[in-house]
């Protein structure tokens, strides 16, 4: 690692500067963000980003040094990676698992998109006492919401709920939730348990 403290970083810097200069040329400045609609819901700020692909990681080929990112229904963008591509929130590119959301910053080389940075969706922190484990939930579900005195809420999109859900769960997709508050129990002390597709 330390051997690279020779003129190489300088060259890399120069190359990066050159790249940056190229990016600000008028024809390159039009490279808009390619983002999945659902990314924009919470990350509206990325719409002003240039040279970014945002969507769900799909697959990786080591032979082609490329990853595939889903950016819309049936639409995938292929981005190459190099040994200089940095990754955030996962230890390495190899640890990216479908369908983790990613923001990929790239440079254009000819027709190729070459990733400089891949940022995976970070872990969400939930305090320990606000979490329910699988065993506890299984016991509650076996009793049922009435006997167990709780409400189980599936926050995922309807398509996921229809595919498969936990018995007794109420479908309440998160984006629709503000309009569905009336479906929650009147008694605000009723235990509510929310679930979705899981998070790291």
């Amino acid at each position: 690692m330390f051997r690279t403290l020779s003129p190489k970083p300088l060259m890399a810097l120069a190359a990066a500067a050159l790249m940056a200069a190229v990016l600000f040329l008028p024809q390159a400045a039009s490279a808009k963000v390619i983002a999945h609609k659902k990314c924009m819901k919470c990350h509206a700020e990325i719409k002003d980003q240039e040279n970014m692909v945002a969507g769900d990681f799909q697959s990786r080929s080591n032979k082609a040094k490329s990853i595939s990112v889903l950016v819309g229904k049936g639409k995938n963008v292929i981005v190459k990676f190099t040994k200089d591509t940095t990754v955030e929130n996962v230890p390495s590119i190899k640890k990216l698992k479908k369908p983790i959301p990613v923001q990929v910053t790239y440079v254009k080389k000819g027709n190729d998109l070459v990733a400089t940075e891949i940022v995976a969706k970070p872990k969400i922190e939930v305090p320990e006492d606000k979490m329910v484990g699988v065993k506890e939930l299984a016991a509650l579900v076996a009793k049922g919401p009435d006997k167990g005195n709780f409400m189980l809420i599936d926050s995922r999109p309807p398509i996921r709920y229809f595919e498969g859900h936990i018995p007794g769960a109420v479908m309440m997709p998160f984006p629709k939730m503000p309009d569905m508050m009336g479906k929650l129990p009147k008694d605000k002390n009723t235990p509510l348990i929310f679930y979705c597709g899981g998070f790291r």
Binding site: K80, N111, K130, F162, M177, L192, F194, Y195, G197
Partner: protein, 254 residues
């Protein structure tokens, strides 16, 4: 990733006892706990899922979900070798009604074999009838038959080999493997552009032909298909294994 946000919103609305099942649906299924699927989902996927009628052949003969396999509940476990190799295959069990308690032991065991999508049909056969789902009488299947749902742009092995053998004018087979791999042989009539060079060299390809990509496993073929499609080409890909050994072609194992 939505549940913590939903929980926060519930708390904002005054709910005092809010928790999150953070591991979510994947962990629930992995533990082999019963998961319910719906008529809506099954109607859409019928033909590309394994549907198992656990009421037995007699009830199935009187009427069953279209394409279902009749397999009495107490025989499911002994039929393990019949189950598909693909562990992502959807396996949907049903009985008369929702019948979770009746089916859950069996679905847990089947999930324990490594299947990731094992479901019980909510409402069972009665619910299916109520939802006017397609049914059959007689013609009861007794062996599991599984056809995976194709990805968009996927070509069948049969059609692919037909193109390789007959080389129709309006199709072009594009091998997207690396030079090192193609040195070991290529399909007759195929053109090679490694997928990592494809964007750069895309102009070498004709726009008036349908381009069918293949690689060794299907993964890079799909990437190639996406590059071509995004560039406005008419393309499909083979999502299957291809091996070429001393001019002998081994292909299409699905």
């Amino acid at each position: 990733m939505l549940s913590p946000l939903a929980a926060r919103l519930a708390e904002k609305n005054g709910y005092k006892n809010v928790r999150v099942f953070h591991a979510g649906m994947p962990a629930w299924k992995k533990a082999g706990l019963p998961a319910l699927t719906t008529n809506q989902f099954l109607k859409k996927r019928l033909g590309y899922v394994v549907v198992i009628d656990t009421r037995g052949p007699k009830a199935a003969k009187a009427g069953h979900i279209q394409g279902a396999v009749a397999m009495p509940l107490d025989q499911v476990i002994s039929q393990r070798e019949q189950f598909p190799l693909d562990k992502k295959a959807y396996l949907i069990f049903y009985s008369d009604g929702t019948d979770i308690d009746k089916l859950k032991k069996v679905t847990k065991q089947v999930a324990g074999w490594g299947y990731k999508n094992v479901f019980i049909l909510d409402g069972g056969y009665q619910g299916w009838l109520g939802a006017k789902g397609p049914i059959q009488k007689d013609m009861v299947r007794t062996k599991i038959f599984y056809l995976p749902r194709p990805h968009p742009g996927e070509i069948t092995g049969d059609e692919f080999m037909n193109i390789v053998n007959n080389k129709p004018q309006d199709k072009l087979v594009l091998d997207v493997r690396t030079k090192a791999e193609t040195a070991g042989g290529m399909l007759p009539g195929a053109v090679n552009i490694p997928v990592d060079e494809l964007s750069e060299r895309i102009k070498e390809l004709p726009k008036d032909k349908e381009i069918v990509t293949h690689c060794r496993t299907g993964l890079r073929a799909e990437m190639g298909y996406n590059i071509l499609r995004n560039a406005g080409y008419n393309a499909r890909f083979l999502n299957d294994k291809v091996a070429i050994l001393q001019d002998r072609i081994f292909c299409c194992f699905k």
